[in-house]
Assembly symmetry: C2
Homo-oligomer: 396 residues x 2
């Protein structure tokens, strides 16, 4: 038994070494290099964002003085300006510009909202505080009328400043937990994520205040479900298998995805996903992998293109002798969604992934991570994950 | 401005002193004293639970030897055995006992499930690990068939051992965050909840491993929404107003409610709730106050009877000049649910609370905590909460 453990730990280090070699040889992407016909978006600190904001206002004022006709330019987020970057498999924003002018009635409401959000962002940055989209809406309900209008203006402001929404200090509400071999700084607090017991660190959405100090982890594991996270936290999984664990209760929000991206990039660590073997689990994995369509212009800061699908795979079910009775029959909706997945380019170009989805369709079954507990509660931490990780049994 | 702050801090201490005096004079309940005709449930540690488990098995075996007819006795959880404790306003379990015998076909399935859960609980306690209800279901899907069957057996086992579900190591998945002036121990980790930046500690459901070490907080604030929690965490609210902050993203699950109860009891601190001014917010407050109906036999460990409704009150809307446009018209469903609340004994006996709900019905409006940001993002932390706390403007 002791021998087996040593060999597993050794293999983990080998995996890490291989990962770094692959990055050097360009076989694994450490980060995204944008194609030339796309807009470059920067993740800015507070002062840089303020600087861009002032410059923008100056430009608008100058235009008014010169032409007498105020207007604002921003990158178009319409369908024709969304570009599929095949190399990186990301949806990105093209270089088309739209000009918003003050001289029609509808544009007046639109531009007044934009100016209001600029004002709010200016306040947030100057006072160095953060707000959620809902709070921004509540600053002037008469003007915004519906939250979708303020949300649109917030995205307009971020894109006209050529920066991420987080850089404007408009953030998502906290959701998600991180634990493991990691030390971070949040303003004056140094937080050791190995010493939080069986709980964890609630990931702050104010990522501009967070510095990643150090880590001796060999990999990052992203977990769909809190219950699986609890199992790993209880086992202090990171002590035996040096890692960082992260969960977001389903689909990761912007803060969690951005935090994961930073961890993976700044620490140059391989990332693995543990999701349910069903279409929703596959969707969650794909959002970490390539971002969501709505926030395509932020993709480079939200997507983790090196993330691997560790499990639960449909092919694992037989391999790990998961009993028939804990496999769940697919619903008509599951079958429809799985078939749709098999039409997506990003799935088809990954043969192993497509094969596993095809297998699920052939068997017409799905399975939850928790189905592993049919072999005992510690099967996940003591058998399944170690074996998958040390034998390189993942997809991606 | 400085003078105002000093006076506010002074008042906070006065509030705390008053709270302790009230407890002494019996005006505020520090904890629940059960009426004599109810079942006494204990929160046990691992060894005590194991001890009860062994004794139970011995008793069953003895009965088989003596009568040849195996049976198990447990407190009845049927409607006729649920007792409303008017004094504490809690639903409790009476002293009726049911005897499950092995000799009918349906009881065989039932008792086999019960034995399986006893086996699982024995394993969990012996190995000192925890599992969720879902995981317990997956240990034997053939036997349980549906999760509601294993859930029922889990509750049967807890009640036949006269202990809480948490004591059997079957726990809820993690949900909820805590920050502020508090130090706890989780096995060998000492966690300072003041030093977690703008994030927080994800509350572990394995509360039997948690010791509350120390706190210099003057009160506890329970918050319905993550976004409000974020605002308070960003302001490091606990530095100026010594407190512990807790959120559970809506209705608190068993782990959060039990943790709050322990904090309030072990530290003898007043507890305040900050929820939306709508029927759902009132429901969330009531669940912290008196527990939910389903888990009535655990109420003494889940309910915090001294919790005050700090806000958002309907009467606050005028007092704090919350603009008309951020007040939301009630739906027909809201009106129906508010009227239902006004028929509940626990609402009616609290005149101020009933009056505030009546006011909302008269105005036909509701409001979210975020509506306070109509006065600026820092209004909540710098004006509203300090004024409410220092002037004693709460209900309960």
């Amino acid at each position: 038994m002791a021998k087996k453990q040593i060999s597993k730990e050794f293999n983990l280090q080998a995996m890490r070494k291989l990962f770094l070699e692959y990055i050097e040889r360009g076989k694994v992407k450490s980060d995204i290099i944008l194609p030339p016909d796309t807009v470059k978006i920067d993740n800015l600190n507070r002062k840089e964002t303020l600087h861009r904001l002032y410059k923008l206002v100056d430009d608008v004022l100058e235009k008014i003085y010169k032409s007498g006709r105020p207007s604002i330019e921003l990158p178009s987020r319409s369908g024709t300006n969304i570009i599929w970057d095949e190399e990186n498999d990301l949806l990105l924003l093209g270089t088309q510009i739209v000009e918003k002018q003050f001289h029609t009635l509808t544009s007046v409401a639109d531009i007044t909202r934009l100016m209001r959000v600029l004002e709010v962002v200016n306040e947030l940055l100057n006072e160095d505080i953060h707000a959620t989209k809902r709070e921004v809406f509540y600053t002037d309900v008469n003007l915004f009328l519906e939250q979708k209008n303020s949300d649109k203006s917030i995205e307009d402001v971020a894109s006209m400043l050529y920066t991420t929404r987080n850089s404007t200090h408009v953030v998502a509400a906290p959701k998600g937990t991180c634990v493991g071999r990691l030390r971070i700084r949040d303003k004056s607090d140094i937080i050791d994520l190995e010493g939080l017991g069986s709980g964890g660190w609630t990931i702050s959405p104010m990522l501009d205040n967070i510095d990643i100090i150090e880590s001796d982890a060999e990999f990052i594991l992203v977990i769909e479900k809190d219950a699986a996270m609890m199992r790993l936290a209880e086992a202090r999984f990171w002590r035996k298998y040096p890692c960082i664990l992260l969960t977001a209760q389903g689909v990761g929000n912007v803060a969690v995805r951005m935090f994961l991206k930073r961890l993976s990039k700044e620490l140059t660590l391989p990332v693995f996903a543990l999701v349910d073997a069903d279409p929703y689990g596959m969707y969650i994995y794909s959002v970490y992998l390539r971002g969501s369509k709505r926030l395509s212009y932020e993709s480079p800061f939200l997507a983790t293109p090196n993330i691997k699908l560790l499990g639960l795979l449909t092919r694992d079910l037989d391999k790990y002798k998961i009993p028939q009775e804990v496999r769940i029959p697919m619903t008509a909706q599951d079958i429809k969604r799985s078939k749709e997945l098999l039409q997506e380019g990003y799935v088809l170009k990954n043969k192993e992934w497509a094969d596993d989805i095809r297998l699920s369709l052939k068997l017409k079954i799905k399975a939850e991570i928790q189905s592993l507990s049919a072999h005992g509660f510690q099967f996940l931490t003591d058998e399944y994950l170690p074996e998958k990780l040390t034998t390189g049994d993942w997809i991606g």
